[in-house]
Amino acid sequence: MDTKEIKFECRDCQVYYGDKHAIKDVSVDIEDKTVTAFIGPSGCGKSTFLRCLNRMNDTIDAARVMGGFLLDGEDIYDRRVDPVQLRAKVGMVFQRPNPFPKSIYDNVAYGPKIHGLAKNKAELDEIVERSLRRGAIWDEVKDRLDSPGTGLSGGQQQRLCIARAVATEPEVLLMDEPCSALDPIATAQVEELIDELRANYSVVIVTHSMQQAARVSQKTAFFHLGNLVEFGETGEIFTNPKDPRTESYITGRIG
């Protein structure tokens, strides 16, 4: 397990929202072909940190990000980096399912289209099918690719969003509480999917559910009040936490 290549190297990262110091001195190594879970109480900065990894915080005027975020050794906050190119490499799935109000096909095809991944319609069809299969939703929607993506159930919508995210062939997949709006059955489907995605991607998932973190991740990072308290093998964190704060959180005493 330790032989895996490091995909994201984050060093001394700081994030400020105006005067608020939201992320303090966080250093984390995110491995390739691994699911890394960020856990912690609400407002601890785990989502903020996640959004730094594909520069989604750029859209918030008040946010300032400092420190080193190295993707394959390259600083993603370098002046020469275009966030658009970065986001094609680092895909994202959001908390609430947010399909475009377009057809299922167009939802998935949009990313490949704007990045020019398909030369013709046949190739695009193939990408769409492959992505929907990877999103474990192909069988449910293959007969109605023209119907609107917003007409699907919550769980289906979220899997459609995952399919949309993988359609651009990203290397890292960020998931911001992907199951918080889903029922237990849909959650189980998405979790299964995350486990499958691990074969090809480096997956980073933010979650409120410790069971979920324990089920899907290999590495877990515990955030508290903007600090990274503990980071290590998931089994280790849940069975033998080193920090008393981690222990009280996973046993339900703070949160």
Binding site: V93, F94, F100, I114
Partner: protein, 454 residues
């Protein structure tokens, strides 16, 4: 035990709160207040509806007669001796004959028609001239235009539909009565009796007044010939200019302000000023147009181009405000989704946000246009109150020709003395209302079509 009593004060004994079948005084008061409020609401709606109905009924009852008109159909002999003295059928020679040269032809035709139908004007105590006066003064001009357009008809006898004089027309619409004719120097009861006889003979007929919609304005003493043709064209040209300028400028400005501009004091200042501009009285825009477009830029007066520019300035804040509101109402999750798959800012706006905001933008634009269509004050300042009889040319040259506008035409006609013009003003208001209603209807249809759920 001691701990518990020390920390929590002893609860008072619960008393029986009474039967649910009886309303307490407080409940009754609340229910009465609600009933009163509903009554106020109903009364307010009732007053509003009553005002609307009174308005519509008064406009329709006054304006609908403008759409019908009394015509006198006669056979006119186009006497070559009078119309083409040279006998060469040279159009330049024919044009030299003024409307005075045509009046005798009409008088003769009138005489002949009456004899043919066995009506003797002498029996009513009317001279030949008094009988001819029942035809509109526009009649000779109508005939002259016809002859100039068809010079080959000279020497023939043609059937011609003349406008009846506005008093005769008014008699059949109930505006003029025998009693009022006695006091009127423009019409005599005898002429009305003759008109009755002519109507019985089928010479005089009341029909739909296409001329009201297609004709240009007419002078003070021939209201029967006045129409809103030039005003409709002028308003149409201005709307084209407003749409072509205000929509792209307004939408581009809103997209920039809403999606791209940084939030700082300068954009705040712009925002406040746009809101203020929306509240500026429209006549101020008229003064601005007069000073800048006419006096400084030297654009022609009374031209749709100037009116269009002024109305564009007036409409822009409305469009910007409504466009920004509809851009704001697009859920941010859609923007996140687009950025998340690697769309650029512009792609996310143009592929996702703008289509979702489209219904709101279109509604705002059409409401802005409707507002501009009904605007009078600024147009008066840039000279569109002028008396325009020439139709403007086809665009784009036509944008620089003098024209009138519907609301200004209404204002203009209400200033004139003859009650026939009041009728026409109400008729023009009906046309204006039809345009406004159809624009609002279009807004609703567009909104339905573009509306998508997310």
């Amino acid at each position: 035990m001691t701990d518990a009593t020390a920390n929590s004060p002893a609860l008072p004994d619960r008393k029986h709160s009474g039967s649910l079948m009886e309303h307490t005084a407080r409940t009754r008061r609340r229910n009465n207040a609600e009933k009163r409020f509903r009554a106020y609401g109903l009364a307010a709606i009732g007053i509003g509806l009553a005002a609307l109905i009174v308005l519509l009924v008064s406009i329709l009852s006054q304006g609908l007669p403008a759409f019908s008109q009394t015509f006198v159909t006669m056979k006119v002999y186009l006497d070559p001796a009078k119309l083409d003295k040279s006998g060469t059928r040279d159009i330049e020679q024919i044009k030299k004959v003024s409307t005075f040269g045509y009046a005798p032809l009409i008088r003769a035709a009138m005489q002949e028609t009456m004899t043919a139908n066995g009506i003797d004007p002498e029996k009513f105590g009317l001279s030949e001239k008094a009988a001819e006066e029942m035809i509109s003064k526009e009649g000779a001009a109508q005939l002259r235009n016809f002859v100039i357009a068809h010079p080959d008809q000279i020497g023939q006898t043609v059937e011609f539909k003349f406008l009846a004089d506005s008093r005769i027309d008014g008699y059949f619409k109930g505006r003029v009565s025998m009693a009022s004719a006695k006091l009127d120097s423009n019409v005599s009861p005898a002429q009305l009796q003759l008109a009755d006889a002519l109507k019985k003979a089928g010479v005089l007929k009341v029909g739909f007044n296409w001329g009201f919609i297609t004709n240009p304005d007419a002078s003070e003493n021939r209201p029967e010939a006045a129409g809103i043709g030039v005003a409709i064209i002028g308003s149409l040209y201005m709307m084209i200019i407003v749409l072509c300028l205000a929509l792209p400028i307004g939408v581009a400005a809103s997209i920039y302000l809403e999606e791209f501009a940084p939030q700082n004091w300068f954009t705040d200042l712009i925002e406040v000023n746009i809101s203020n501009l929306a509240a500026v009285p429209s006549i101020v825009f008229g003064i601005l147009g007069l000073a800048i477009f006419i006096n400084w830029a030297g654009l022609p007066q009374s031209a749709p181009i100037v009116g269009g520019l002024v109305l564009t300035l007036m409409t822009l804040p409305t469009i910007i405000i409504s466009t920004r509101a509809s851009l704001k109402s697009v859920p941010p999750s859609i923007r996140d989704a687009a950025l998340g798959v690697g769309a650029s800012k512009m792609q996310s706006v143009f592929h996702h946000v703008l289509p979702l905001a489209m219904p709101g933008i279109l509604t705002g634009t059409i409401i802005g246009l409707a507002q501009a269509l009904g605007e009078t004050a600024p147009l008066m300042l840039i000279g569109m109150v002028a008396f325009v009889r020439e139709f403007p040319a086809a665009p784009p040259e036509g944008f620089f020709d003098p024209a009138s506008a519907l609301p200004v035409q209404v204002y203009n006609w209400t200033q004139r003395a003859d009650p026939a013009f009041t009728e026409r003003a109400s008729g023009a208001i009906i046309v204006l209302l039809i345009f406004l209603l159809s624009m609002n209807f279009l807004a609703i249809i567009l909104r339905r079509r573009f509306e998508r759920r997310w």
